[in-house]
Amino acid sequence: MFSLKQNSWFIRKVVIWRAVASIAWSVLLLPVTAAVFVLLSRFSLFHPIQWISDCTSLLAASSTVFSLVVLCGVVLITGFFNLEFYTLVPAIPCSRMALLGTVLHPRQCVHSLVYCTMGMLVMWCASVTIGGRYSTLGTPCRQSESGEVVTCLNEYHLFILLAGAFMGYSHSFLGVVQNMYYVSFQPIQQYKYPRFKGCLPMVVKCSVIQALYSARNFAAFYFFFGYAPKTWISSTLNLQIDSSIQPLDSLTGLLDFSLLYHLSISGTFLYLTWYLTVLLFRICVTEAYSFPVQSTFTEDAEQSLPKVLAEKNTLVMKFLALQDLALLSHHSLSRRLEVFSLSQPGGHAHNWNAISRECLSLLSELTQRLVAHQDAVASNGRVKSQSASSDTRSASSSSSVVSGTEDIAETPRLSVPLRTPGSVFKSSVGGANNALTAPFTPDVNSPFSSPAIRRLVGQQDRQSPCFGTEQSPHIMRRGPKLWSASTESQSSGSPPASPATVPSPPAASQKPSFLAQWLQNRREQVKSFLAKRVLIMYLFNKLPEASSQALFADSQAHIWALQGLSHLVAASFSEDQFGVVQTTLPNVLSCLVVLLEAVDRHFKLPHASSKPVRTICSMGDSTYKTLRFALRAALKTAIYKITTTFGEHLNAVNISTEHRKRLQQFLEFKD
């Protein structure tokens, strides 16, 4: 977890300090939220003066101060987890199985455990602060038979503590599901205080809603399973259970308005503490950072914008550098002039060359990624239609038709390289290395991958577990719906299904051996058995749009690169004295047009242009779900920006005829 040593100067000098500042602010806010919590928890409508005086005396009490110290510890740990877990590129699971894998990951288990403990700690503080019947775990009570005073288990205290653990776990769980640690950047720049003020109502609302949901869920949970922890605690700590008091795991015990009120109030306090820490961290980390365009001294050279843009390892630095580029290209004349300036001595346009090279390589990398994805999807469709027919001819049993189709549906391109209409990109596809598609490559050894994939891995290792979604609609309509989804599960149900048992269609038609036939039938039975199980279907069903979202997960960087480039190019029309931009203008234009073609084709794929459902209120940021739309809009705006600025002068730029045709559409505002 601790990897500070090999980190770059930016993490050490900027990100750490920003995180520290955010934690400091959260700690400073703690007394305020605690005071509000005290006021609400002791609320009494009919004795306002006593209520106020009670609260003031309680706020000054030593127990409250101790609670505050504990809460500070909780905030510190939360802040540390924020710094350790935050991400600028969200992890997008392609199926619920993948999501389950993330939830059960050891790192996530540690996270959940720590959050359970912290939840209990906060709830302990809350119960001490509320006082009354909640304050301690043991209470003196009189036994009914003998009449002697013994220590009994205070179920209210236990209830609140368990609620804390429950909320801690649900926070940690929802953190994964909703990508809580994904930090997105706002479309506009604001100072920290106004931004915090603007977000505060949303955070309070979210924590109230989340607390109410959790309170409801926990009450249900306690109703069914509350007996177990109660007896366990009472037996280990040797506490009696007071039979005179109504037990809480019953309907009458739970329908206690005051209990539910205190539960939801403390839950809100708990969530608010965490959410505020997350919010402050997001605000501090995404604050714009201004990198110098040119370094005055050689020791600062690594901190200058062109150098920082080329950095691959520190993602947060790269993102902030691109944001800075977009801002300077838009707002700052003096810094733009620095970009267009020539080096002294030598007269080379190092700044512009380095910056434009980085932006263009970023954009062409996205183009390659999109083209690789499209090729994989498109070739799936082609091969499927060919071999599906051969399968139909040779099929002996009716169900094998379906299985054959489906096996192919999962296979990547076999040998026929598909010529799609815009195959001008073929040369660049060759250059697409596996690193590009690495996140989309399935784990061949995993028990969930289909035998078809294993068989084909030798020929072609570019394959996405998400790609299955893309061509599935046709098949879904044709064959039984179940198969398109649960093909992967077939081998998980029958582990010994080796490549050898997959009968190649021609062989099967010529010589149906008894053993093969028998194995085939068994397999079909297992498959159909599994397909009927709703749970397995549910787990292995591909999440729609997931592959599209995964492809564009880091597109915020591309959007800034597009904005920066287009504004710089447009500004160069009047500000570039030495004409340094002119030399790269053809490259920029062709790169943008090629990217536009790739993006346009991507949006023609199924699911790619469907809008995600908007979440009503959650702390998890769902900006990444719409990044592809934002990228498309930014790309078109960038091209328009350049074409409207240069106008007819574009005819003098040396670009290919196809690209010129496309740009002409932009000049006429017909795109």
């Binding site: 479309p187 603007g198 719409t626 809009a633 930014a634």
Partner: protein, 355 residues
């Protein structure tokens, strides 16, 4: 419950009528009008809540209809884009994507994005940033104005207390500032880099101009201060042509008096070496028709083109032919102030009749 809903709708309609740029919005056949910033194409919102798009070189007029498209108060085309049109409706904000090459006359409602935020309706003013990356929307009942990232469908509320709601928004041409007017005597000028704002109390009386001069302000602010000041006191609408050489002012008539119809006065303006405002003439409609709304064509080659929406549902285009003072160093005498009727016969290209 139905009655309550109906009542709510009526009150919000009244509010829209009060703050709409279109005069007498509630009984006007034309609800809103917008020129495309780059091409010869404009959109008109009609009384039946549909929007029509007219192009100079095409007879196809796409009609836009959507379930949520009610009480349209403002239209604006996205700059640096051929297709996107923002529509301020009673309950939400619609972004239509009308493919300029398509020949379809009824784009499906799937072409429209619906943007809404609780508490942010009715929307009476919208403004795209000049780069087309942001859209700001305002409602007279919401003290926060929304800055939308339209493609991502996310909004950042910018809230300032005081003034009560935001009624009118306008970007400076270079995109560095944004004017936000409130229903009370107050407006704000936002700078759009860090989104901080300056409060400008609207001063009454003759000291206004003197006080404005004392503040160190840019031409843009002076321009908008003037426009805003004029609008509040004498005139209901002002429009400046993109070159800054013609200023059209819609003088609101007296509905009681017979001989006081609304009229458009046109001024010649010059900003250097000193600001000059010279009366130029009046634009009159046909008998009985009063001007309701006007807008200059954003890039007319030969001078300025003023488009006027009349109370009888006509739209007319009034060209002013002149050579730019910036190019020749003086105003050319060949300018012509075409009357409405002459315009109908001479310039068929732009004229469309809507009833």
């Amino acid at each position: 419950l139905k009655k309550k809903k109906k009542k709510k709708r009526e009150t919000s309609d009244e509010m829209v009528a009060e703050f709409s740029q279109m005069l007498d919005w509630s009984d006007s056949a034309l609800r809103s009008f917008a020129w495309h910033p780059h091409t010869d194409k404009f959109a008109v919102a009609l009384l039946d809540d549909s929007i029509r798009i007219y192009k100079s070189n095409s007879s196809a007029t796409p009609t836009l209809k959507h379930r949520c498209q009610r009480s349209v108060c403002a239209l604006q085309w996205k700059p640096l884009c051929g297709s996107a049109l923002a529509v301020a409706c009673q309950s939400c904000l619609l972004i239509w994507h009308v493919d300029p090459t398509s020949l379809s006359t009824r784009p499906s409602s799937g072409c429209a994005q619906v943007l809404s935020h609780p508490g942010h309706s009715p929307i009476t003013s919208i403004a795209w940033s000049p780069t087309g990356s942001l859209l700001v929307s305002a409602s007279p009942v919401d003290t926060a104005m929304m800055v939308w990232d339209v493609a991502a469908e996310s909004a950042v509320p910018l809230q300032r207390v005081g003034g009560g709601g935001v009624t009118y928004l306008s970007w400076s041409p270079d995109g560095s500032r944004l004017l936000a007017a409130t229903p009370s005597a107050l407006f704000r000028v936002w700078e759009t880099r860090m989104w901080t704002c300056e409060r400008w109390p609207c001063l009454k009386g003759s000291c206004q101009v003197r006080k404005l001069r004392k503040l160190s302000i840019t031409v843009f602010e002076l321009m908008y201060a003037f426009i805003y000041f004029f609008k509040l006191t004498f005139f209901s609408q002002t429009s400046w042509d993109p070159r800054g050489e013609r200023l059209a002012v819609l003088l609101k008539g007296d509905s009681q008096a017979v001989n006081h119809p609304s009229v458009i006065a046109v001024f010649k303006t010059r900003s250097s070496p000193v600001f000059e405002l010279l009366p130029c003439g009046f634009v009159m409609g046909e008998a009985g028709a009063e001007p309701r709304f006007m807008q200059f064509h954003p890039h007319f080659q030969h001078g300025a083109l003023l488009t006027v929406c009349w109370s009888d549902g006509r739209i007319s285009h009034v060209p002013f032919y002149f050579s730019s003072a910036g190019l020749l160093g003086g105003d050319s005498p060949q300018q012509a102030l075409a009357s409405n009727t002459a315009d109908h016969s001479s310039n068929k290209l732009y004229t469309e009749q809507i009833s």
